[in-house]
Every structure is written in structure tokens, then in C-alpha cells.
């Protein structure tokens, strides 16, 4: 096709698109190189706050990262999840693909793997993520959160939570509307 190479990505993250395309078209990179560079661009730019360090803290204020990379020519895959203190998540995912026979590594063990592979350890908090978390904890009583069927009532209170001994276990299918920039 005359349109090749081609890169598509979710959301209007055009620098990521451009860098991925240029990697393939002008720098002799493979399509795997292209998607790695594209995702790395967004990690560095913290695209809309949903990618990279310093955004979307968890209940304990920490930002952790998830990433996946797939080479469809060989069906090689690498992924990391709940990665702590490493900014270049897609780079670690590619290292999982290149240097292991596994598909996914998670948590602190993934961080240890990343350090062994030469990645730099760094704090992923930002001033903004700390402020967001403090506001959620102190002013919003930990609302919203992802707990259910626990005590104290998670729709009103912060934890620590324990299973609700007196309530029924419900599994409603309603999903809460979340801000447009808050997405996986």
C-alpha cells in the first residue's frame, strides 16, 4: 500500500505519532522500534496526565506504570504492570520481551528486573500528584474510590477497610462516570 508505513494511536497525542512514524520512515527503525518510541514520547510528555510519571496516584499516593509491547511478526510480547519508581515503562516492557522468556512482570519484582537491566530508579511523585492525593484524602474523604462491600462505608469514609460482616455482597453493573482524561 502507498500509505505505508502508518502509525495510529489513541487520543490526539500527535508528538507520539510523529516520533513513531519518523523512527520507522527516517531512522531505519522497525515497527517495534516505532511503537516503543511513540509510547516513550508520551511517557516523557506525561500525555494528558494519564501516561508516565507524576499522574494518577493510587490510594497511597504513589504513581505506578503499566505497559505492553507486541511484535506481531514473531508474536513476541513483553509487559510490565504495577511498576514502581521507573519512568520508562515501555522500555522495561521491551526489556521483558528482549531479555526473558516471560510475557509479563509485575510490582517490585519488575522494578528489580528493570534495575538489573540498567534502568534508572527515580521518584514518580510530582507536586501535582501529591496535591491531588492530599485533596482526595483530606477534603474529599477518599471519594471516589474502588471499594465495595466493606466497612466503614466506602462511599463516605476512608479506610482502612474490612469486609462488611452485616451487609450483603452486591455486584452492581453500574460504572461511575469518570473525568474524560482519566482512562487506562
Amino acid at each position: 500500500s502507498d500509505s505505508l508505513p502508518i502509525v495510529v494511536n489513541t487520543w490526539p497525542f500527535v508528538n507520539a505519532t510523529r516520533n513513531a512514524f519518523n523512527k520507522m520512515q527516517n531512522q531505519g527503525g522497525t515497527c517495534v522500534d516505532g511503537v516503543e518510541v511513540g509510547c516513550r514520547t508520551c511517557e516523557d510528555e506525561q500525555c494528558d496526565g494519564s501516561v508516565g510519571w507524576g499522574g494518577h496516584p493510587d490510594e497511597s499516593s504513589e504513581t505506578t506504570l503499566d505497559s505492553l509491547i507486541i511484535d506481531a511478526k514473531t508474536m513476541s510480547v513483553g509487559a510490565v504492570a504495577n511498576l514502581h519508581r521507573i519512568k520508562n515503562a515501555v522500555g522495561v516492557a521491551r526489556a521483558v520481551m528482549n531479555y526473558t522468556r516471560h510475557s509479563i512482570l509485575v510490582g517490585e519484582s519488575a522494578t528489580k528486573f528493570a534495575l538489573d537491566m540498567g534502568f534508572e530508579q527515580t521518584d514518580l511523585h510530582s507536586n501535582q500528584s501529591i496535591e491531588q492525593w492530599k485533596n482526595w484524602l483530606d477534603n474529599l474523604s477518599c471519594q471516589p474510590n474502588f471499594r465495595r462491600n466493606v466497612s466503614p462505608d466506602p462511599s463516605k469514609s476512608c479506610g482502612p477497610y474490612t469486609p462488611d460482616k452485616f451487609g450483603t455482597t452486591s455486584f452492581d453493573i453500574e460504572t461511575k462516570k469518570r473525568p474524560i482524561k482519566e482512562h487506562d
Binding site: N9, T17, A20, T30, C39, A72
Partner: protein, 138 residues
């Protein structure tokens, strides 16, 4: 979250994702973006797909794999993505999410739910800059 699919001049495909997840999640939670078939999937013989949105809901339906398989059966990228979105919306009508697909011929399409519209970015041979495509959601 970013989900990306690339198709090179030799017809080879790759896909990748990267995210910092949902705000105030329970520590230890894993998003769909890290899961093959859910956050992304690709097959050189067919095409690739990637997903974005509420990962706790979306990963239950493995939408990227479903989209690629729908393209394998002859659906266009748009039709295939829509099939995946509809399967999720059947159980979770209010969920927020989108699926983006690219076939092995360079055709792309997307479908979404829970938003007014979903923008995605494209760059291909012969263009000087990426273009933003916006599609209306269900």
C-alpha cells in the same frame, strides 16, 4: 493511556501501550493496558487493535483480541471495533472506552462508548504531519 499500532513498509505490525492507570486505585491493581489481548493485540496476517478507557471493565472482554478476530472474519476495522464495544456495552451500558483498529492494508477505524466523541491520531506515508480523526460514540 496511549495505545499505538504501527504497520511498516514490509507489512509487519507492532502494538504497544503505556499508562499510569486510574486515579486513587487500590495499590496492586493492574490495568488492561498491560494485558495482551485486552490493552492491545496484533497479528501480521490480519491487523492490530488497542483499547483505552475503564480498564477494570474492558479487560473482562479482551476487546483488542476480539477486534482482530473480527477483522480476520472479514469485518472492517470500524466494524470490528464496534463489535467489541457493543459486547462490553451490553453488560456495562455506561462504561467509558474506545477501541482503535488498523488492518494489514493500512485501513483504520474506531468505536467508542460513554463519551461524545473519541479522537485518535494517524500518520502515514506521504503526509507531513499527523492528522486527528474524531468519531462519534454510541
Amino acid at each position: 493511556t496511549i495505545g499505538m499500532i504501527a504497520l511498516d513498509s514490509n507489512g509487519n505490525l507492532a502494538a504497544a501501550t503505556s499508562t499510569n492507570g486510574l486515579q486513587f486505585r487500590i495499590p496492586g491493581r493492574v490495568s488492561d493496558s498491560a494485558l495482551i489481548g485486552s490493552g492491545a493485540f496484533a497479528d501480521n496476517e490480519v491487523g492490530g487493535a488497542c483499547a483505552t478507557g475503564d480498564g477494570d471493565v474492558m479487560q473482562r472482554f479482551v476487546p483488542s483480541y476480539n477486534t482482530v478476530e473480527a477483522m480476520r472474519r472479514g469485518s472492517s476495522p470500524e466494524e470490528a471495533a464496534l463489535d467489541s464495544i457493543k459486547r462490553i456495552a451490553k453488560f456495562y451500558p455506561n462504561f467509558t472506552g474506545a477501541v482503535l483498529a488498523l488492518d494489514r492494508n493500512g485501513r483504520h477505524g474506531a468505536a467508542c462508548n460513554g463519551m461524545d466523541k473519541f479522537p485518535y491520531s494517524v500518520m502515514q506515508n506521504g503526509w507531513t504531519d499527523p492528522q486527528i480523526f474524531e468519531i462519534p460514540c454510541l
